[in-house]
């Protein structure tokens, strides 16, 4: 097992900066996701680690070893990096059966046949493909091909496992169960994993840490909880889950706490600090609140902002409310049981958790 260190890595395609100043360390045994919309640079970063792209600047270490350094023109080709990789299209070789596919990394390493047979047997067991070793890929389902790809990536016991959107070609149900299966395999082997996905739910479920990227830049790095509860900026907040943005101005600081006047909404909102260290009176701010961190009240309460319930939708496990606050519309979710308020009634919104971001 090994850690992965990228230092100031960037990649330009012509004039387009695909990855900019990427510096991160992925610890030994850690499961890290690169998350972002298409074109954010996540796949390019992964391919730089694999050695399929050469970085324009920066250095890449796998374990103690420097595998790529743009400045000194040092570059180790992919076949010498001892990495396992699962591709989006699985890339299972159609002219070889399951056994030949999975055993290939051992074969090119010159391992003896008996040893290969044994190791392939083990890894096929690990991914629940026992007894299918004579099948051709065309005789396998998408999910099984995926497992073959995973087995092939693991068989040579690589220091590092890279996965490039491996679940995006599967149907929803299979995708869900494969998430747990991949995570389970990673835990059992204790292998370091870098996982590329555009699916935030996938990243949340599987990762120890998520690196959110946009337009080539890292936007935030943190545990799934940190990313969800305290997004660093508007992009991260918007990309992960649903969120309401309220824009306004910090009108007063009362010690660490602040008073914010929101655009289009009557009445000030009191925020608990520490705000004094990052902001001053007169700054424009954005308040971000998740729908589930807001409560809809039928009575006024201290700190609650008055509004009007426009629409409520029953979703089975919860209620979805649209509330008008002045000229804004706010989305709130609440328990399905408390269905008592009629559409059109006045309501009060109580914000349990608000993230304050610079404008």
């Amino acid at each position: 097992m090994a850690d992965v260190r990228l230092e100031n890595v960037s990649k330009k395609f012509g004039n387009v900066e695909a990855v900019a100043a990427f510096s991160e360390t992925i610890r030994e045994g850690e499961f890290v996701s690169l998350l972002g919309p298409s074109g954010c640079g996540k796949t390019t970063t992964l391919r730089i680690i694999a050695g399929f792209e050469r970085a324009t600047t920066g250095r890449v270490f796998i374990g103690q070893e420097l595998v790529s350094c743009a400045e000194t023109n040092l570059y180790k080709p992919p076949e010498q990096r001892n990495i396992g990789m699962v591709f989006q299209s699985y890339a299972v070789w159609p002219h070889m059966n399951v056994f030949a596919n999975v055993g290939y990394p051992l074969k090119v390493r010159g391992m003896e046949k008996k040893k290969i047979r044994e190791k392939v047997g083990h890894v096929l067991e690990l991914v629940h493909l026992e007894g299918l070793d004579k099948r051709l890929p065309s005789q396998l389902s998408g999910g099984q091909q995926q497992r073959v790809a995973l087995a092939r990536a693991l068989v040579a016991e690589p220091a590092l496992l890279l996965l490039d959107e491996p679940l995006s070609n599967l149907d929803a149900k299979l995708r869900e169960s494969m998430r747990f299966e991949i995570k389970d395999v990673q835990r059992r082997l204790g292998i370091t994993v870098v996982y590329v996905t555009h699916d935030q739910a996938e990243a949340m479920v599987m990762s120890d840490r998520i690196i959110v990227m946009d337009k080539g830049y890292v936007q935030q790095t943190g545990s799934p909880r940190e990313i969800y509860e305290t997004p660093a900026n508007r992009f991260v907040a918007d990309f992960i889950g649903l969120i309401n943005f309220l824009e306004g101005e910090l009108v007063a600081l009362e010690g660490p706490d602040g008073v914010v006047a929101l655009n289009g909404i009557p009445g000030p909102v009191h925020l608990r600090g520490p705000l004094h260290s990052v902001m001053k009176t007169g700054d424009r701010v954005v308040l971000a609140a998740r729908p589930e961190s807001i409560a809809v009240l039928s009575e006024p309460a201290p700190g609650a902002i008055p509004g009007r319930l426009i629409r409520k939708i029953y979703l089975g496990n919860e209620m979805d409310y649209r509330v008008a606050l002045g000229s804004l519309e706010v989305r709130v979710t609440g328990p399905a049981a408390s269905d008592g308020i009629a559409e059109g009634s006045p309501v009060w919104l109580s914000f349990n958790r608000i993230v304050v971001m610079p404008f």
Partner: protein, 561 residues
Amino acid sequence: MTSIGRIFSVRNLVIGSALLFLVAFVLFPLALLVLRSFLGADGEISLENYIAVYGMERNWDAVVMTLWVCSLTMLFSMIFATGLAWLVVRSNLPFRRQFRSLFFIPYVIPPYVGAIAWILLLTPGVGYVNKMLVELFGAEMPGPFDIYSVPGLVWVMTLFYYPLAFLNVASALEQMDNTLEEAARISGASPLRVFWDITLPLVSPSFFAGGLLVFAASASAFGVPAMIGMPSRIYVLSTQVIQYVYMGTTSGMREATALSVVLMVIAVLTMALGNRLLSRKRYTLVGGKSSRVLPVPLGRFRIPALVFSALLGFVLVVLPIGAIVVTSFVRIFGEPTTLENLSLEHYGYILTFKTALEAFWNSLFMGITAATLALLVASLIAYYRVKAKSPLGRAADLIATVPYATPGTVIALALIIAFSGKYGLNLYNTFSILIVAYIVKYLAFSVRTVCASLEQIDLSLEEAAQISGASWLQSFRDIILPLVRPGLIAAWFLVFMTTFYELTMSILLYGPQTHNLGVILYEMQTYSNQQAASVLAVLILVVVLGGNVLVSKITRGKITI
């Protein structure tokens, strides 16, 4: 409606007449040809003809020579095509897109024009290359090369038929999911090992299919073996058949027939085998392409590869076309190419030569007629095949592929036998027999092109037009027609161009009034009027290359001949 009414609906009558045309002009003549080859002198079924024909050594020699020349051509083409395809698709060769187009140009040049060019270059004593080697490097007269030989024949056939293999291998390499190769790299395999273990096995169906197509095409070829082989008595099946037909005797016809059937079997079998290899799709899996194909670095071989490719492009394209263009302006062929020896007199000769002018107008007239009629029939077949999904449409499509695989020599002979009046219809020496031959031979081209453009029109596009309030006619006019128009125009030009310079069938079917450009050019070449032949070749090249540029503009590069 009654069931009888349904059978005789307008729709079935229309496709029925297209089918009838195919039965009358494809199945009937070819069946007759095969049948005739098994009829003895008294009209009984026997192997008499075959025993007589293959008892003669010269006929055996022709069979063996055909197999030998075609095998060599196939072998060299496969090696040549695979190397070049890999170079232009997967390596980091500079200008590889441009080289891809350059290496494909021989495909659109009529092979007999290529033969003329290489005769001009490699004739002992007077060929440009031989002369240069003698003058500059002191080689012994008449120079080291002799085009009129088996190696000469294989050389020209390889240069002009290898693109069939090149096209197949290149598109297989292009369509291959390159993460398959990346997966092998990350598994620890070196680039060379990846080529052997992954790339080569995956393109092997296209590799062999391409080779078989080259074999079938060179077995069907007439122009090249006639111009290069016949002067030194090297006969292959197609040239041998023509020899017999030209005898004009009953026994000559019988021998031609028996030879033709063997030629047809060789060509149809190899082509069928090739298509079968290609259609086997056991290698298709979940689609997917890597975000970016990383070309394989050639390292220190990059510049040598560039020089090699440039030289090859020169030999493949510049040298032959140059030889023809220069010769068309040379006053006396064989004299040094000096300013005094340049003139336009041969252009003047051709432009005032009545037979050549007639040939030009005949070519134009027959090309336009055949292309238009073929397009009409092909559109009907394609519509019934793709849109109406009618079994009659499928049957017509199937029949149309038979003459596509059958050598032109065989088709022409079959048409002569069937339509010389013996069976109620005499088309001998008429424009009709030539036009019918062209339509029949190239119909599959048009059907395939039109089918391809119809298939990309999803039914929902028409339905969307209808739900928007358009009648069937309006939706046809506003939706279908604009979408298939490029395909239709391309199909028309493909048939027009190949018909315009056709030689193989024309040489058997032309009459006193119906000679075309190919025939005139062939005669000038065989009577050693090299400059006049070159003038005609230049004319043909202009039309063909111009037409291809046009077609690839119209279809945005998707279709060439």
